[in-house]
């Protein structure tokens, strides 16, 4: 299997990715678009009989071809590094896509909606079980109740080390702040683990 560089001299860039997860309609694509240097792009994956992950949809008795859409954006970090931000599929039953998305991801933003706090539970569970670092960002919709961060932490039973913050996904600065918080969390984790 050829998995390394076919010609590192010419293709001197590397790509990394972060995941933006959360329940349906919580603002994942809006956040991706707020910080991306390109308008969010949409790619599609086919779930077919022969497709990967067919084993994961146990209980489905009819074999069909389904399209799963993924929205993503790009941030050129520096000439050598490109960061991609992938929103998880809106339909949460497509868990097999989450596995492909999560493979090699640096970390994740879990977006929460205070009107439906429990809609972020599946994402929190997913990243906790795979030990993928994440931050929880509570998107403040107009008129939605604004609970103190610690109250959200208690309500969702989120560990003390996971950063929790409020945000407005429509704002570039606010969305950027969420990414900065996630990346600071990742750097901190890396420093701690280098010491031990």
């Amino acid at each position: 299997m050829v998995s390394a560089t076919s010609d590192g001299l010419v293709l001197g860039q590397s790509a990394l990715k972060l995941i933006v997860a959360g329940g349906f309609g919580v603002g994942k694509t809006t956040m991706v678009g707020a910080v991306s240097e390109i308008p969010p792009l949409r790619t599609e994956e086919l779930l077919t009989e022969a497709g990967a992950g067919i084993d994961d949809i146990t209980g489905v008795d009819r074999k069909t071809t389904t399209t799963v859409a993924l929205d993503f954006g790009r941030i050129t970090v520096n000439p050598e590094l490109v960061l991609y931000l992938f929103g998880t599929p809106g339909q949460e039953r497509f868990w097999f896509m989450w596995d492909e998305l999560a493979a090699g991801a640096l970390g994740a933003v879990v977006l929460a909606d205070t009107r439906r706090l429990d809609s972020c539970f599946p994402a929190v569970d997913f990243f906790e079980h795979r030990d993928i670092p994440f931050v929880l960002a509570v998107n403040c919709f107009d008129g939605s109740p604004r609970y103190p961060v610690e109250q959200v932490r208690d309500a969702l039973d989120i560990g003390a080390r996971v950063p929790i913050m409020h945000c407005d996904v429509r704002s570039r600065e606010s969305s950027k702040e969420v990414l900065v918080t996630l990346l600071e969390h990742l750097v901190h984790r890396a420093e701690v683990s280098a010491l031990t």
């Binding site: 076919s6 599609e44 086919l46 790009r74 050129t76 520096n78 990346l183 750097v187 890396a190 280098a194």
Partner: protein, 121 residues
């Protein structure tokens, strides 16, 4: 040889492949991820064959991810991965896979670089 006399090469394909990938669902021996970066070596005009390959080469004139190619040419990831593999096989495309294992120790410097880059947005 008798079969070959049915048509010559100039005639082009008489029947389009029933599917762009001719039924293949796996990207051959190349390990292509959705953020594997690809870049065309030649120009799409040099690739005088199926339009899908030319469109893909046109989308890869600068390094882009497999996901971007898929979005640009409006084909599902699984199809694009197979077609990209063909182009890599033919030496018309270079690729670079993302690091397989993102371990904190090895990537502290990288993480700091990403943090600095995002702060400066």
């Amino acid at each position: 040889m008798a079969e070959d006399s049915w048509f010559d090469e100039d005639a082009g394909p008489l029947v389009r492949p029933f599917a762009l990938t001719r039924g293949r669902t796996r990207p051959g021996r190349y390990d292509l991820d959705m953020i594997t970066l690809v870049v065309a070596i030649g120009s799409p005009r040099e690739s005088g064959r199926e339009p899908e390959y030319a469109r893909i080469l046109a989308a890869c004139q600068h390094p882009v991810s497999v996901a971007e190619v898929s979005a640009t040419v409006d084909l599902p990831l699984v199809v694009v991965k197979v077609l990209l593999s063909d182009l890599i096989e033919r030496g018309e495309l270079l690729f670079r896979s993302p690091p397989r294992d993102v371990s904190p120790q090895t990537d502290r410097v990288v993480l700091q670089a990403v943090l600095d880059g995002v702060r400066n947005l």
